[in-house]
Structures are given as structure tokens and as C-alpha cells.
């Protein structure tokens, strides 16, 4: 189906999300909609699907004006959307999710629905158990379910909003091949993403948005730098990490054993120098988080010792001390789940500043905390005001806020997925800040599922695989290939010996 959006306007209060946006997508093509976080891409496709009502503008489907004002209109007109956070019902089964919202008689007739489902899923090789609860599926499987459901409704234009966030590499391959098949059948696909490489790999055409407006479009292939400069208005260069390692030891771990109800990990020996960056690689849930939480003082190790360099300059044994002591010693922790563990949804940036400040009498010094908050906002380039609630900030700005709230001076920062969900510019900005900290002597230990990020910024890497932990490896001796092998389980002799000793 040919889709045309003409002069779309949409504002939320004072924020103009879409300003005079026009877009045209041909039947049988995959059209990329590229832009950084907050560029207005999601708003635009939600308008097309009817999830949001436009303020002004026209939607033309196959040349005829379509009055799409609710999702019901959209589906009837043949437009279906896969939302970024899957809009499904986690406690219900796959089959009930598939059926909810489909037309039909009064009774559910699960047998017939199951047959329809299997017939649709088969050509795509989507292997989904129809009786499984959707809450137990992976993100990729939930996407597959949604795609099948939308196809069963007869959509001829399929919108996907950031579908490659949070799915595995093999699921991504399956998704891309399914999308190419659908385009081959004459359906139009709109692929919303902030990831350049995904758009370059999949799309035929790309439209770039910035700050609520279309800034250009191009046919793929197209030089990457041209797309980057369209996205950001200028060319971007990734920060290069200079050697920042100093001679003093910042953290010393010996024979550490720590576990939860699922997995136990053992770190025989780890000495982190001041200014050093240690990357933790491995599949998620292989124990990286346990090590981070232990070094942060949040989790008590079952055995072993842990010493941190204090502001005075000597190593102090911190084993078994409370979290508060770690904070005083200059250890900071940035969790991956920013809104659940790192920040408090309903409090403003200023209130976070107050919470972090040392307890100082009963009353809050509003003027002083306001000044500190304003300073942080300016220094960390946060797009928000002192009284903005952090829940309303975008992901990148939440991460900037977390960084702004870290104490100073800082001996050691522990981070989980420091740039997950951030666009390229925010990612680079975050690492530029972190590298500055390293130059000042702060050590960093971070876990990431992005191998390129690990190889690019770490001095040494520790690989976690199925409860086993490798010895730290110099990054210079490492390639992404080798790293992949190790994550798969080939950790080398030392780790195997450690397992045998257990």
C-alpha cells in the first residue's frame, strides 16, 4: 500500500513533536525513519496508526484521503503498528493475545484461531508455543507474535518502532528476513530506528528526522557520514580513549565468591589501577551484575576480600561494610534500570540533588539546591529544568542526570549498560564525560552487551560465561571475534582450572 503523510503537525502542551512533516512510502519497499531519541519519529508513526490524533495534516492511503483517528480506523484502513514497548497482555497466553481484537463471533473458538496462527507463523519459521504466557516470552518472540497478529488483521502497511532494541542477533536476522519477504509481497514497511547500521542493512529508502521535522531523505546505499550529518546537523566523531592508567591501585579483590539463587561466580584476583577501565563481557545474567553489586557494596560476598583506595590514598579493607561506607569512600554505582533503581520517577532533578546532599538539619535549602541543580543541568547538558520530574526526561537525559548526581571526587564507578537505549550523540557524550573522569584518576568497571563498546573503551576485559569468569585480558590482545568465542564458553586454561578447583 502506498502511504503518504502530508504536512502533519502535533504538539504536546508546549512541546512541538511534529512540525509540517511529510513522508511518502511506496508499496513493496522498506522505508527507514531515522533520527536520534526525541526527534519525533514515534509520534509520527503513532499518528499514522491512529494511536495519537494529529493536530493538522492529511493521511493518504493509496492516494485516497483516510480519516485515521483511532487505532480501530488504522487497522480497518490496513495500517498496523508494532510499538516499541510491545503492547500486549503478559498474563494471557500467546493464543489469547493473538485473538484479542480480531473480529469474529461471540465465542472464541480457540481451535480455529490456533490453526490460523500456525498457518501464518509457518512460512516465517516463527516457533511460538500458543499456550505459553506472553510474559514468559523474550522481547523478540513478543514482536513475532505482534507481527503475526497484525498480518492476520490484514494490514498492508506495517510500522515497526525501534524493533531491534532488546532482541538477540538471531531474532534480528529472522525479523529482517521476514520484513524482506513481506515487502516482496507488496506490503509497505516503515522501520523506525536510531541505529544507522540497521537502517543501512535493511531499508530501501530512508527519511531522517531531527527536532520534529524532516531534514532529508535518501536512497540506500548512501554514505554513512551523510546520514549522520543529517541526523545531528553535523558530523560526529567517536571519542578516542587515551591511556589513562596510573600506577596506584584503586580496587583489590581476592578470592571473591558471590552468588544469588541462580548463579555463583568466583573472582580469584582482580587489581584495578587508578584511571583504568575494565569491561565485563558476557551474555546477560552471567554474573556481571553480581560482581558490580559486590564492588558497589550493595551485595555481601559469601567469601573473599575486597579493598578500596580511600581519599587518603591507602587501601582499606571494605569486606562486609555497609553500602554507605562504600559511598563515603568514593564508590559510585549506575544501574541499567535507570528509573527503577537509579532515579526516582516522580521526583524532580532538584529533589534528587537534595536527596544526594549530606543530611544537614531538618529543612531543605531550596535556593542552594536549586543552584546546584541548575549548575548540573548546564554542565551535563540535560534537556530539562530543575523542577522537571526525571520520569519525563528521555533516556539519554536520565543517564546524564545519573552522571550528574555521582559524587565527586570519585574513586570507582560501577556501571551496567551505560549507554543502553541512548542515541549515538548521547552515547558519545557519556563516554567523553567518563574518559574525563578517568583522566582525573577515577576507575571504571562496566558491563555491556555491546562488544564494540567494550573493545573500544576498556583497558582490560573480563569475560563471564555460564558462571565462569576469565582472568582480566588486555584489550590490545583482543578482537571482537575472540571475545565472541570466549563468551560462548572458551575461556582459556586459567578459568577452567578455577572451575576444577571448585
Amino acid at each position: 500500500m502506498n502511504v503518504e503523510l502530508q504536512h502533519i503537525y502535533k504538539s504536546f502542551g508546549a512541546v512541538q513533536a511534529n512540525v509540517d512533516v511529510s513522508l511518502s512510502v511506496q508499496a513493496g519497499t522498506i522505508h527507514g525513519l531515522l533520527g536520534e531519541n526525541g526527534a519525533g519519529k514515534s509520534t509520527l508513526v503513532k499518528i499514522l496508526s491512529g494511536f495519537i490524533t494529529r493536530d493538522k495534516g492529511a493521511i493518504l492511503l493509496d492516494g485516497a484521503p483516510a480519516d485515521v483517528r483511532t487505532p480501530a480506523n488504522g487497522i480497518r484502513a490496513g495500517v498496523g503498528m508494532l510499538h516499541q514497548d510491545p503492547l500486549d497482555f503478559p498474563p494471557l497466553t500467546v493464543l489469547d493475545n493473538f485473538t484479542a481484537g480480531r473480529a469474529g463471533g461471540l465465542f472464541l473458538r480457540r481451535g480455529a484461531a490456533a490453526r490460523d496462527f500456525r498457518a501464518l507463523a509457518e512460512p516465517f519459521n516463527f516457533a511460538l508455543d500458543i499456550d505459553e504466557q506472553v510474559g514468559n516470552l523474550t522481547m523478540g518472540e513478543r514482536q513475532q507474535l505482534e507481527i503475526l497478529r497484525l498480518l492476520s488483521l490484514g494490514v498492508r502497511t506495517l510500522i515497526l518502532d525501534e524493533p531491534t532494541t532488546g532482541i538477540s542477533a538471531s531474532q534480528k536476522t529472522a525479523l529482517f528476513s521476514a520484513l524482506k519477504t513481506l515487502a516482496g509481497q507488496g506490503k509497505s514497511i516503515i522501520f523506525v530506528s536510531h541505529k544507522l547500521e540497521d537502517v543501512e542493512e535493511l531499508c530501501d529508502q530512508v527519511t531522517v528526522m531531527r527536532a520534529g521535522q524532516v531534514v532529508g531523505s535518501a536512497a540506500i546505499p548512501c554514505p554513512t557520514q551523510q546520514l549522520v550529518s543529517m541526523m545531528f546537523g553535523r558530523e560526529l566523531a567517536a571519542p578516542v580513549k587515551p591511556p589513562t592508567c596510573q600506577d596506584d591501585v584503586a580496587l583489590c579483590v581476592e578470592n571473591l565468591v558471590v552468588g544469588d539463587d541462580r548463579i555463583d561466580v568466583r573472582v580469584d584476583e582482580l587489581t584495578v589501577k587508578r584511571g583504568e577501565v575494565i569491561g565485563l563481557a558476557g551474555l546477560e545474567g552471567s554474573g556481571q551484575r553480581l560482581l558490580l553489586l559486590t564492588c558497589a557494596g550493595i551485595l555481601r560476598p559469601a567469601g573473599g576480600r575486597l579493598a578500596v583506595r580511600t581519599a587518603g590514598g591507602n587501601l582499606q579493607d571494605m569486606t562486609g561494610r555497609p553500602y554507605h561506607d562504600y559511598q563515603k569512600a568514593g564508590v559510585g554505582y549506575l544501574p541499567a534500570d535507570r528509573l527503577r533503581e537509579g532515579l526516582i520517577w516522580g521526583l524532580s532533578i532538584q529533589e534528587h540533588v537534595v536527596l544526594r546532599a549530606p543530611a544537614n538539619g531538618l529543612f531543605v535549602n531550596r535556593a542552594a539546591s536549586r543552584a546546584v541543580a541548575d549548575q548540573s543541568i548546564q554542565k551535563f547538558n540535560i534537556r530539562g529544568k530543575a523542577d522537571t520530574r526525571v520520569g519525563q526526561l528521555s533516556g539519554g537525559n536520565q543517564q546524564r542526570t545519573q552522571l550528574a548526581l555521582l559524587p565527586s571526587p570519585l574513586q570507582l564507578v560501577l556501571m551496567e549498560h551505560p549507554t543502553r537505549g541512548l542515541d549515538i550523540e548521547s552515547t558519545m557524550w557519556v563516554w567523553r564525560q567518563l574518559i574525563e573522569r578517568c583522566k582525573g584518576g577515577t576507575s571504571i568497571i562496566f558491563a555491556s552487551s555491546d562488544l564494540d563498546e567494550i573493545v573500544q573503551y576498556s583497558d582490560r576485559v573480563i569475560v563471564f560465561s555460564g558462571g565462569r569468569v576469565s582472568a582480566p585480558i588486555e584489550t590490545a590482545a583482543l578482537t571482537a571475534n575472540k571475545l565472541g568465542e570466549m563468551i560462548g564458553g572458551k575461556l582459556g586454561d586459567r578459568a577452567a582450572a578455577a572451575v576444577a578447583a571448585n
Binding site: 494511536f51 487505532p71 503478559p90 472464541l108
Partner: protein, 324 residues
């Protein structure tokens, strides 16, 4: 205790539980759509009073039930308007209505206190009534009791076997997802809040025109709150909500037997006991100790038991749906 006595206790329990079945299932429907109607206690009192007055004036029980259902739906519409349209706190609105309904019913119902009036006639089912024990328990009741059995089954089928039932559950679980599937969330929530309110109104009339036969001030006070507790106890499943209601009925029935047999205990103890026991059961079935106990069982046995006992509330229960 001989068999005859046991049958009397159980028959009384079923009669006691019938209004609670209506109220509990009404509230279940409303909460499954994501709205908490906390006004149950006030709604039941107002509906009991109005239903009795209407039946008294027309000398027609059916008119009484219709009036009660309308009052129930009217109270629910206030909750719906405040919660869905004005997007205010459902808990606050419901609570205020619960208090208001209690006092308003006493004020307006003053002239008909203890006035004799019509009641639902008994209706024994031919042949079936002669079955030993079962006939006495299930087939020598009145149309209202039979209707409550039908209600339980019909609502269960509606929830789990029909397309609109699936949409109802989805609206309370993830309204945004239901909206994305083309449902009109606002309209559905209004519909099921009013429907639930009407059933709660029928529960009120079931007290004043059947089970308690007549009106006196605050005669049903407390049952609305019990109905709300039974919905949680029943895990938002109509069958189990009904079981909860019958369980409470048995407790009440036992208490009245105990009251006539044990002399030295104040009567208040027996009238309060079922409520206390109900809370105790709620605590016991949701406590952590049960997890520890169940942890000793093999997985195959444990999971169905846990799934039966731990029904999570509808995820969007009491939350406001913002649609742009």
C-alpha cells in the same frame, strides 16, 4: 450433629451467600475492566432501601429489583465519571460514596423501617426437589438463588470463552494495548462499571426483598466490604469469587448455630466472628508461610496450586488510562 442439622446449616449458608454472589461478581466485572468501585457498601445499602421501597409501593418484587439495579448503576456511574472522564482517584470517590450511601439510606429509608412488605416467593422445582439432601439444598429455593447459579456460570463463560470477555480482561490488563487493538477503552470501562454496579444493586435488593426481608437502618452494613474482600480472595475469577461467598455464608451460618447453642458468650462475638475469620483466611492464603510450605512440594504439584491461589490483580486496576 445429624445430617438434618448439617443440611439446615448448608441451606442457610447458600441463602446467606446469594446476595454476596451478586455483589462479588458485579465487582469482579468492574475490576476486570480496570476500575475499582469501592462504593459497594453504600451502594448495597441504598439499593436495598430503594428496592424495598419500590416493591412496597407497587407491591411488585420485580419492580423492586429493577429500581435497585438502577440505583446501583447510578452510584457506579458517579465512580465511572469521576475515574474515567475526570481522571480522579477511584479510591477516594468510591470511599466517599460508601459513606454517603450508608447515611443517605438511613435518612431516606426512615419511613419504611421494619414495615412488612413483599418478598421473593419460594419456588420448588418439581421432581428435583425430592432428591434426598441435594433437593433440599439446591432445588427448594427461590428464583433469585437459581438466578445466582446461572449468573456464576454465564459470567465464567463470558470471561473465558467469548470474544467480548477476552476484550474485557484485556482492558483491565493493558488498556493501551486494548486501545491499539481497536477497542474503545472508555466506552468499555463505562459499560462494565455500570453493569457491575447494577449487579451490586441487585445484591442490595436480594437482602431487603429476600434474605433479610425488609428494611432497617444499616441492615446490610459490612457486606459491601466483605464483597470487595471476596473479589481479592477469588482472584478476580467468578467461580472462585462464588466459592468465597459460599465460604462466608457457611461461616455466618455456623456462627448463628453456635450462638443458639453456647450461652455464656455475648452475641456480638458471633456476629463479628465470620468477618474476623474471613480476614484470617485472606491472610493465610496470601502469606509467605504458604510459599515456604509449597516449596516442599514437587514442581508439578506446586505450580497449579500457586497459580490457583496467587491470581494477580488486573495490571491496570485503579489506574487512569491516558489517551491522546
Amino acid at each position: 450433629m445429624d445430617l438434618n442439622q448439617l443440611v439446615v446449616i448448608l441451606a442457610t449458608a447458600i441463602a446467606t451467600a446469594t446476595p454476596l454472589v451478586f455483589a462479588g461478581i458485579g465487582e469482579t466485572i468492574t475490576e476486570r475492566a480496570g476500575v475499582i468501585n469501592l462504593s459497594a457498601d453504600g451502594t448495597i445499602l441504598m439499593a436495598a432501601m430503594t428496592g424495598f421501597a419500590a416493591a412496597l409501593a407497587t407491591n411488585n418484587v420485580l419492580v423492586g429489583f429493577i429500581a435497585a439495579a438502577i440505583v446501583g448503576a447510578a452510584f457506579a456511574s458517579i465512580v465511572a465519571f469521576g475515574a474515567i472522564t475526570l481522571k480522579q482517584s477511584q479510591v477516594a470517590i468510591g470511599f466517599v460514596l460508601a459513606l454517603l450511601g450508608a447515611d443517605l439510606s438511613s435518612f431516606l429509608g426512615n419511613p419504611i423501617v421494619l414495615v412488612p412488605g413483599p418478598t421473593v416467593p419460594a419456588w420448588n422445582i418439581p421432581l428435583l426437589q425430592d432428591i434426598p439432601v441435594l433437593g433440599r439444598l439446591f432445588f427448594q429455593s427461590d428464583p433469585l438463588v437459581y438466578a445466582s447459579y446461572v449468573l456464576i456460570i454465564v459470567v465464567w463463560i463470558f470471561f473465558y470463552r467469548t470474544r467480548p470477555g477476552l476484550l474485557l480482561r484485556s482492558v483491565g490488563e493493558q488498556p493501551a494495548a486494548a486501545f491499539a487493538r481497536g477497542s474503545n477503552v472508555v466506552r468499555l470501562r463505562y459499560l462494565y462499571t455500570l453493569l457491575g454496579g447494577a449487579l451490586m444493586g441487585i445484591a442490595g435488593a436480594a437482602f431487603s426483598l429476600d434474605f433479610k426481608a425488609g428494611w432497617s437502618n444499616r441492615s446490610t452494613a459490612g457486606y459491601g466490604w466483605i464483597a470487595l474482600a471476596i473479589v481479592i480472595f477469588g482472584g478476580w475469577n467468578p467461580l472462585r469469587v462464588a466459592i468465597g461467598a459460599y465460604f462466608f455464608g457457611i461461616l455466618q451460618s455456623l456462627a448463628s448455630v453456635a450462638q443458639s447453642n453456647i450461652q455464656n458468650v455475648p452475641t456480638q462475638v458471633f456476629s463479628v466472628a465470620p468477618f474476623v475469620l474471613m480476614i484470617l483466611v485472606l491472610v493465610l492464603t496470601s502469606g509467605e508461610w504458604l510459599d515456604n510450605l509449597l516449596a516442599r512440594l514437587p514442581v508439578g504439584v506446586r505450580r497449579p496450586i500457586l497459580r490457583a491461589l496467587r491470581q494477580p490483580a488486573p495490571a491496570a486496576l485503579g489506574k487512569i488510562f491516558e489517551q491522546d
